[in-house]
Symmetry: C2
Subunit: 524 residues, 2 copies
């Protein structure tokens, strides 16, 4: 069966090039790596036979492509515009320059060991592929705390603890549902026995008393905490639904920890999120040329030519793997087909912004917050407490992570503010969460991805990049153009994640290897 399918592909490949191969593969349900075993991906050993591949971009997509192609015997050149690898995986450490287009230069002054993950900042434990690279390359991993029941929710001008919001909401929902069951309002919805079982369960699930009223048992916190000897705990009073939903922006925080890619446990490389990119770089370093922005891309017969660097050098290769994000690709001087050019125009990219400070770890010393996320309907949206090096004297607090979590208009608006304004807003939010402590915040750094050269955004968003099966525009962007194959988080259903970049690279390589095998056969 699979032999037959491969035969079909071989014929198509010979006739129509890689594009036809890819379309046929998709039609046959064979499209590239099987996700369930993506972590076992490898191109056939020796199959590269020295063929030349030029890779555009040394982010995760480009680095993974380089790593796998080199393993299979291809001759690889990676062209990277920046003087660093990693792309949107950008860990800023003390001494680093932070450039933003049209903004004053910043220089990070963090102490050794402290860092800001300006871009990627978490790895779900369900992201098997990127974790497999971490494991294979010996990158030490630790837990990234993505949920902290002690963190504050500052909505409608009032700060409560996450444990109160989450558990009071759960209790109120259980209470109302129990009432509906008790009044037989749902007798038509479910068999009687099932409804009775559920009713009993709700008492435990929502901490309901024997009359079905929500009676907090400490899960939402205590007004007096239980302690030694005679100190019995006094549970906090239950909140009303209207107080729990006091602000439109508060919805996402109730969902956040349940989103597939945000579920516990989350992980991070020890020492900064760029750990995996750096480990890949160590493997492929001889192939990588930093400071070489791509300025033109041409097909020459069945090969490809790329102009790069300030000196306008040209490089020619059998194949190209292009991982440039769409805002850059759409501006590139390239002889893409009209359909491709049309598809890559005007795709909105998320201009999210972060602000970080260095400070003594008052959030640990005084509030016992070990990692986690605080939420607010202020403009800064998010506060992220560091998950590493607990009890170190200082740490880097991400005091704003504006990505539309609590209001979709925030990123654009916040990105437009001056650095000083962003920093002031972030300080004010810390002051609301930790009264008297904003004065301890030092060494601010802010990164807006819309103003970050060679990225111009964090990832593709909008109607064409949803979770549901995507339309013609997306399909067009996946297609190879002759010897040019495309990769990047925007060419995956795991968008805005390192995993998506790596998975899309595997897809591109599978097509590339397929075309390469065709050519090989042709030559024999």
């Amino acid at each position: 069966m699979s032999q037959t399918r491969r035969d079909v592909l071989t014929q198509l490949g010979a006739a129509g090039g890689a594009s036809a191969v890819w379309l046929a593969m998709e039609a046959l349900g064979l499209a590239a790596a099987t996700p369930a075993h993506a972590e076992r991906f490898a191109l056939p050993a020796g199959s590269g036979r020295g063929r030349e591949v030029v890779i555009l971009g040394a982010g995760i997509g480009g680095l993974v492509a380089a790593y796998e192609l080199r393993r299979a015997g291809y001759h690889v050149t990676v062209l990277e515009a920046r003087d660093r690898i990693g792309g949107r995986v950008w860990t800023i450490r003390g001494g680093d320059r932070v450039e933003q287009m049209g903004r004053p230069l910043q220089r990070a002054a963090f102490a050794a060991g402290n860092y800001m993950n300006a871009g990627a900042a978490r790895i779900p434990s369900s992201h098997r592929l990127i974790l497999s690279y971490a494991r294979r390359l010996g990158v030490p991993m630790e837990v990234m705390v993505n949920c902290n029941r002690g963190a504050g929710w500052d909505f409608g001008g009032r700060v409560i603890r996450e444990r109160q919001a989450v558990n009071d909401m759960r209790g109120r929902i259980a209470e109302l549902l129990a009432k509906a069951i008790d009044t037989k309002a749902l007798d038509q919805e479910m068999p009687k026995g099932e409804l009775e079982t559920l009713r009993q369960f709700l008492a435990a699930y929502g901490a309901l008393d024997e009359k079905g009223r929500y009676q907090p048992d400490g899960r939402s916190g205590f007004s007096e905490e239980p302690a030694g000897y005679a100190h019995a705990g006094v549970p906090a009073k239950a909140s009303a639904v209207k107080d729990l939903l006091s602000s439109r922006g508060v919805v996402l925080p109730y969902l956040f920890e349940q989103i597939f890619d945000m579920q516990a446990p989350m992980l991070q490389p020890v020492g900064g999120m760029d750990g995996i990119a750096r480990a890949l770089y160590r493997e492929v370093q001889p192939s990588v040329r930093l400071g070489r922005p791509v300025t033109a891309l041409r097909r020459v017969g069945d090969r490809v030519r790329v102009q790069h660097g300030p000196d306008g050098q040209w490089i020619e290769a059998d194949y190209c793997v292009c991982t440039l994000p769409l805002p850059l690709l759409s501006k590139l001087d390239a002889d893409f087909s009209p359909a491709k050019k049309a598809a890559m125009q005007d795709v909105p990219y998320l201009p999210s912004v972060k602000v970080a400070f260095e400070a003594p770890r008052f959030w640990e010393q005084e509030d016992f917050l070990y990692g986690g996320v605080a939420w607010t309907d202020r403009l800064n949206e998010n506060i992220l407490y560091p998950s590493d090096r607990f009890h170190a004297p200082t740490g880097v607090l991400v005091a704003a992570y504006v990505a539309g979590w609590t209001n979709p208009d925030n990123p654009q608006h916040f990105a437009g503010l001056s650095h000083e304004e962003r920093i002031r807003i972030s300080r004010d939010s810390i002051e609301a969460m930790h009264p008297g402590r904003s004065k301890l915040l030092t060494n601010p750094i802010t990164v807006g991805w819309g103003l970050t050269q060679w990225s111009e955004g964090v990832g593709a968003i909008g109607p064409d990049w949803g979770d549901a099966r995507r339309g013609a525009r997306y399909a067009e962007l996946l297609k190879p153009e002759g010897p040019i194959f495309f990769a990047g988080e925007h060419l995956s259903y795991v968008g805005l994640w390192q995993e998506g970049a790596a998975l899309s690279a595997h897809e591109a390589l599978t097509l590339l290897a397929s075309m390469s095998a065709q050519k090989g056969r042709g030559r024999i």
Copy 2:
């Protein structure tokens, strides 16, 4: 005001001894350390003035007492029955002997770096006091993953992932409540506007479609995971309530992560849970005598005499801090008052049991489970994946933690089984969770706390040790007897936790220091 209160206490102390002081303090609302600032506890500097204190037991309660008394200038002797400190904080490493009363000797064969926390195994980030000791003493801490959405729930003979159970249940509850709201069954319960706000919220909270039906969006997992290129995700089918509640034992897992002391994030010392006990021990080591079980306790005037060790030595002191658990205390040859003796008899102690294996980390390599807890209605109840040293070649898997999580009768029953039976049951559960992998399990160790000498149980349970304010029996046990003060997790409302032991020690020391101050004044 506080001066006046202190005067009252002073007079009472002079007249009635520490018991009266304590009762008066309680009446005045001054009972010992204020929980909110427990981490700043310190006896007045130099207040010990060389007075002698004998401490019974070198668990957390005894070690904290020794540390604080030494800091204040007391002369301290800690008598510990075992040849190790830590009590129910017991980290077993390769080469350790594991003795159980009436059972064959076990010896742990774990590789270096691997360990089993036979007793205490987690620290909530809300346990400020024990974390403050960790911080002060420089104990490195890391996250203990207490919740893993990828872990298995094996109930009614079927294994599903936690993410499916938790999110399908949430969706089904939201769906039913939305239906009840839509049919106006709850119009009398809440103002109309509030109900409308809640109804809108439920759509997001429970992933409801426009008709109010639960429509999984990936939060409960995927039948086909989203991946690169054309691989759109296909969310798993929604479970019915009856399948989500297929077994009586399944209720606790739905609550577990919401229990105050189990909420994210949890922590652990790097290298084993005994890290804090060991750090305290380093501070007080000259005061500690190991291998000295207490055999008799006598009051002599306002002082105390303690007989200890196989040679029956006596030690005399001004004060005693007794941290022995009740199963031991109730059997001790002591001249306690009849009321005290009556109160300490027959308090049930939880006989929980663990079984651990060493194995290659197949749970990480194949299932991407980084820490967390799996649940089952099998006898082993719990599987705990290690939260440390991710990607190390081997790890210790706790394959049974039987504490009544899924059935209150389990601990007693499982404790009565032979080691071989316990191990077989645990293996079978691993095989159900990880088909084909139980053959990798090696070096089993099992610890049942009911059969562990010098503990005879994990902690006080039953009606007298609930969360609500406790009755006369508990109050009696708190009271000092002349120069003897009592501490231990059982004398706290944070029972079965290191925090409770430490908090109760602070309470005992506050009383002791108060009596000591009285005596000092008497002498001047």
